[in-house]
Every structure is written in C-alpha cells, then in structure tokens.
Amino acid sequence: MTDLALIIVSAVFVNNVIFSRFLGLCPYFGVSKKLDTAIGMSMAVIFVLTLAGTITYIIQTYLLVPLNIGYLQTIAFILIIASLVQFVEIVMKKVAPTLYRGLGIFLPLITTNCAILGISILSVQFKYDLIETIIFSFGSALGFGLALIIFSSVREALDTREIPKAFVGAPIAMIVAGILAMAFMGFSGMVK
C-alpha cells in the first residue's frame, strides 16, 4: 500500500510529467490558454492515460515479451494508442454525449501527447506490475492535470497583466513554467 502511495506522490510531485520528465509539453503549452479547456483536457488525459497504460502493459507482457519482439514496442504502442483514442472518441460520442461535449474535443489532441506513449514505455522500463502500472499511469496523468490547471489559471491571470510586448505569449509561458519547475524541485528527494 505504501509503495502505491509513493508511486502516486512521486508521479504527481517529485517526478512530475511536465516539470521533471518533460513529457506532454506540446499540449501543455497549447491547451493552457484557458482554464476551462485545461480542466477538460486534464480529465481526458487522466482517462486515456490510465486506460492506455493498462492496455499497453497487457500487450507488452502477454504479446511482445513472449514472442521476443520487444523492438516492436514503439510501433505497436503508438498504433494501439492512436486507435484507442479514436475508439474512445467514437464510443463516448455514442454512449455519453454529454461527457463527449466536455472531453471529446480534446481526444484528437491526445494522440500526439507524448506523455501517453512516454508513460507507457516508462512503466515497462520500470518493470512495474499491472497494479503499479495502473497507479503510475493514473498518478502521472494526475500530475499532468495538476500542472496544466495551475499553469492555465496563471496564464489566464497573465492576460490581465501588462506583460512587455516581447514576452507576450510563449516566452512568458516558458518563464512561468520555469519558475513552477523550480517550485516543483522542492519536492525532490521525497521519494527515494
């Protein structure tokens, strides 16, 4: 139990996907202009990443490893993730239209979110078992969501500040992310 809690704390704070692992940065900077979108995106990522982490784990353990074709990992994972995302989109549209309006529009963005592929590959590298993989994927997604939501609220606030012209947009976003990363460094060493 403690191990699982540590995995979560590690994934959310200590080794945050954004600030420590540098994964999923494109959507992080792309979808963080508005808080509402950021919340939607976070939810979508939490859902898809947990699902993708689980499925890729199963594929890896029961297909790629026994057949000794580990080198197909990248290509197989990305194929699975791409089709999974599209399936989820289609299914959600049909089964839960309300949910789709909230989250669905973010799903295409997730295909190219390298956090999904990255975390899937990492949980294989870390030799996690199934439960640990699920927790790790979920925690990483949670860390992504946390970082995204804080960041987007800060960026919304920046809209009303008098940022010097040269820094408006991406540069100031980078600097904010840098300062946030410094704050996140305070959590280092919390999980050994």
Binding site: L79, Q86, I90, K93
Partner: protein
C-alpha cells in the same frame, strides 16, 4: 526468414484489427466537413481581426463555404486573395477598392484649444465618462488613442492631440471605427483624395469659436462643386466619393481650410 515474417504478421494483425474497427466506426459516425473550409481558411490572411463580423478567419471560411458567398469580403485580404477564394467556390467576385480609415477631425492642440486639464485614465471611452470633450470643440478627437490600441496593424499613432493614420499600413478592417466613442473615424476609398476634416455640426459661429479649421456650413464648397459631390447638412459638409473627381475646387473655395486635398503620395506622418 521466419523471424522476419512472424513480426510482420503480428503487426499486420494489429493493423487489421484497428483499421477494420476504425473503418466500421468511421462509417457509422462520420461527420462530413467540407474540405474546402480548410482551403478557404488557408487563403485568408489569418489575422483573426474580426473585421468581417465573424468570429475569426475560420468562422468566415465556414460561412463562405456553407453559404457560398464572399459577402462581406474579408476587409484585410487583398483583391487577389478574395478572387482566389471566389474561384475556389465558383463565385464571381466584385473587386472592391481598398478602404482606409480616415479621421474626420483636425482638432490639434493648435486648432482647438484645451479647455481643461484631464487627469483620468488614458482611454477615450473612460474620458467620455468624465468629460465629453477635452477641447473647445465638442466634436473633436480626444487624442487618448483608444483607436490606436484597437488597431492590430500598427497603422495609427497620436500626434498633436489627434490620431494620424498610415494609409499604407491600414487594411481597412474597421476595428478602429468601433473603438472611437465620438464616431470620428470613417472608411473612404483610398483614391478619394478630398476630405472634410471636421465633424462639428454646430452653427457656423459656434463652430468657428471652437476650432480654427471648423466647417462652418457656409455652403461655398457645395456651390463650387461641378459634380454635385459635396453637400452641407447640419452645418457640415460631406463628400460623396462615388461622384468626387478630386478636382480640388471645393478645397480652394473653403474659407476655413476644413477641406483637405491629399496628394498622390500616401499620407504618412510617422
């Protein structure tokens, strides 16, 4: 050989499953979106200025494709681009002349004296809450630059208490028109060189008192015009650019220099 074919078959199986699944799904749930929307959007300038009245270029493109129309034309795009859009949609497009924003006031500090010391916020709309005019003329440009800030093309700047417009940079998007609380800006075709630089509708004497170059409604210009292109209403002259031939007779006739002739060269005071 075997170790090459087997992985191939496995991945092919993967692809088979996902492709057929997606194929079935996409058949069932396919939402048609006209690919021409993208193409139109690509032809547009992408300034997202909203000058056309739609929420950005994408919305304009959607409207253009769905309703098969380029009306209103994009105010920023040049004629060539609009023709390209029209060709794409198999439409005839009427080429309109470039429009530029024009300030109908020449109430510089020198011409219309300040009657107060304004301490409030540097914004025309905010100033209007404190005083309707900062100068002797009630119709004058406030000179606080709300239009300058509204311009996305860097085409305006403040000088001597009024705004001057760089007609080369002006795209005619019209955002500044809405930003002016005094409605002093209007669009004129770029070839129209004669401008009545005044908006004062007070009687002659009052207007004269307020500003050195005010239009006093004396009708001399109306009489001088051979094209019937200039008319005085409410003690203020205005020009019909459809008829005006830039002959300059009214400019010569005006006793207060309220009518201005702009040269062939673009008026840039930057």
């Amino acid at each position: 050989m075997f170790e090459i074919v087997i992985p191939g078959l496995i991945l092919a199986g993967f692809a088979l499953i996902s492709a057929s699944g997606l194929f079935v799904a996409s058949k069932k749930f396919y939402v048609y979106e006209d690919p021409r929307i993208d193409e139109v959007e690509e032809l547009l300038p992408g300034a997202n200025c909203g000058g056309c009245g739609f929420a950005g270029c994408r919305a304009y493109a959607e409207n253009a494709v769905n309703n098969k129309t380029v009306d209103p034309p994009c105010p920023v795009a040049d004629a060539e681009a609009m023709q390209a859009v029209a060709r794409l949609l198999d439409l005839e497009v009427e080429v309109k002349e470039k429009q530029v924003a024009t300030l109908l006031c020449k109430g510089t500090h020198e011409n219309s004296r300040s009657v107060m010391e304004y301490y409030g916020i540097d914004d025309c709309w905010a100033a209007m809450l404190v005083a309707n005019s900062l100068k002797a003329c009630a119709f004058s440009c406030l000179g606080l630059g709300s239009c300058v800030r509204a311009c996305s093309f860097d085409a305006m700047l403040l000088k001597d208490g009024i705004v001057v417009i760089d007609e080369e940079k002006c795209t005619g998007c019209g955002m500044c028109l809405q930003a002016c609380p005094k409605n002093l800006l209007f669009m004129r075709p770029v070839s129209g060189q004669v401008i009545v630089t005044c908006s004062n509708t007070d009687r002659g004497a009052d207007a004269r008192k307020a500003c050195k170059i005010a239009c006093i409604g004396c009708m001399k210009c109306e009489k001088s015009c051979h094209q019937n292109a200039i008319h005085v209403n409410d003690f203020l002259a205005s020009i019909d650019y459809e008829k005006c031939t830039n002959c300059g007779d009214c400019v010569a006739a005006c006793p207060t220099n309220a009518i201005e002739m702009r040269g062939q060269e673009v008026y840039v005071t930057a």
